[in-house]
Amino acid sequence: MSRPDDDYRWPHKHLLGLEDLTPADLRHILRTARGLEDVSTRSVKKVPALRGKVVVNLFFEDSTRTRASFHLAASRLSADVLEFSAKGSSVAKGETLRDTARNIEAMGIDAIVVRHQQSGAPHQLARSVQCSVINAGDGQHEHPTQGLLDIYTVARRLGRDDFDLTGITVAIVGDIAHSRVARSNVHGLRKLGAGVVLVGPTTLLPRGFADMGCELSHDLDEVLPRVDVVNMLRVQFERLQSQAFPSVREYSRFFGLTVKRMEKAKREVIVMHPGPINRGIEVESAVADGPNSAVLAQVANGLAVRMAALYLTTGVNAGVNTGGNA
């Protein structure tokens, strides 16, 4: 067609990471989320877009909110949802990831939402099945929908309706080395033009991130006054076996976001946290519940972003586009 607003077409069948997406892809998925956000505020919180499709939540790692968010997102689009946990299933009996997936797929599935402790597991899955695969977090690699919802939250809060983040500086604070949230955020933010400062203890701050255009810092107090957003990563006690991590008390003293420390920040600074918060460790309660906090908006936006991910990936098939008067 000749009209200017419909020449972009989402090309991806899977959503495995933000590293694979172009700035145009990112903007399209975020704009789609904007269109879907309002579904959750109406009296009938459901649209028929994915009617008759089946989405599987395949989680090999504990998760409550991401799983619930994907479940609700699929429900709001009228898809059927099948919940599949690794615990107490055939996986515990020694089945391989590929066999599990292909057995599930044989039930007539349109999309698999997968979380796995192994980096790259969703990519392997995508190669062995016909349906769409959405990465809900793989090891220390990526958590693309978390990255997208963080970016969406920033853009909405700052009124950047075009999802161009040029001129915005975001600090990501904490255990960068083991964080898939940080990795997805960095890829997405850089592609949309934002500046990124990564802040953490030396042992948890890989120098490789400098090659991705990030500034690295060990001094939160120095960084805080010049950033527009501060994204506090969760201390992952369950993932920490190494001695790279200082004591919790020491960590909190240098990298915790306290009321006192907030005095150094810009007045309008946006405070984010992927949850669940360890109150008093990463973020002091008064800050987490304060006016700068966007934590609850993140949760609400996560729903819209996941609806967009499901809607877009399941729409890509071999069919031909038939435009016209309808």
Partner: protein, 190 residues
């Protein structure tokens, strides 16, 4: 070469939308005094509704995005962009005039009605279109249509393989109604 004919220029589009205004005003006059709304289908129906609203001055103007209600989502290659539905007033008990640029199969209108009803229970719904080009696949007919291309008059008839498009500012460079061959993927705008 693109086979395209312009069947209405900017002046003609203006007189057609004036005519649409008159017939809506006339059609709704038995309900005068009751609050009502113009609701346009994104994106050209939305622009049209905003123009009609300048003359008709309804209590509410809104726009509806039908993408999520389309019945052909699984058939088209890639999902079209979902836009926001902007209806910031209560639909319950309201008289609503749905506005679209071109009416053909009626499937968009079915989707719009479902979308509208998910927002509340309107008292009555009318349909106003700038062009009715025929080719219905559902039992839907317009209450108000400014230009009839359904083939009742031979001069105006359009073929099944032809596409009728309405161009409206500011989304398009100028106002026009054009007929082009369905297979053409031209980019020319008059």
């Amino acid at each position: 070469m693109s086979v395209m004919r312009v069947i209405a220029d900017a002046d003609k589009v203006k007189s057609l939308s004036d005519e649409l205004c008159r017939s809506i005003a006339q059609g709704l006059s038995p309900k005068s005094g009751q609050p009502w709304a113009l609701v346009g289908l994104r994106s050209r129906g939305d622009l049209l509704a905003q123009r009609l609203a300048k003359t008709l001055k309804p209590e509410h103007v809104g726009s509806i995005d039908i993408t999520l209600y389309r019945d052909d989502l699984s058939e088209i290659g890639s999902q079209p962009l979902v836009r926001t539905t902007e209806i910031d007033f209560a639909i319950d008990g309201l008289n609503v005039v749905l506005v679209d640029d071109v009416l053909m199969t009626g499937r968009s209108i079915r989707a719009a009605m479902q979308s509208l009803i998910d927002l509340g229970r309107p008292r009555r719904v009318w349909l106003a279109v700038l062009v009715d080009r025929g080719g219905r696949e559902l039992p839907i007919s317009p209450d108000f249509a400014a230009l009839d291309l359904t083939g009742k008059s031979r001069r105006n008839a359009v073929g099944e393989d032809e596409l009728v498009e309405v161009y409206l500012e500011p989304a398009d460079p100028c106002d026009a109604i054009v007929v082009r061959n369905r297979t053409e993927q031209g980019n020319a705008i008059p």
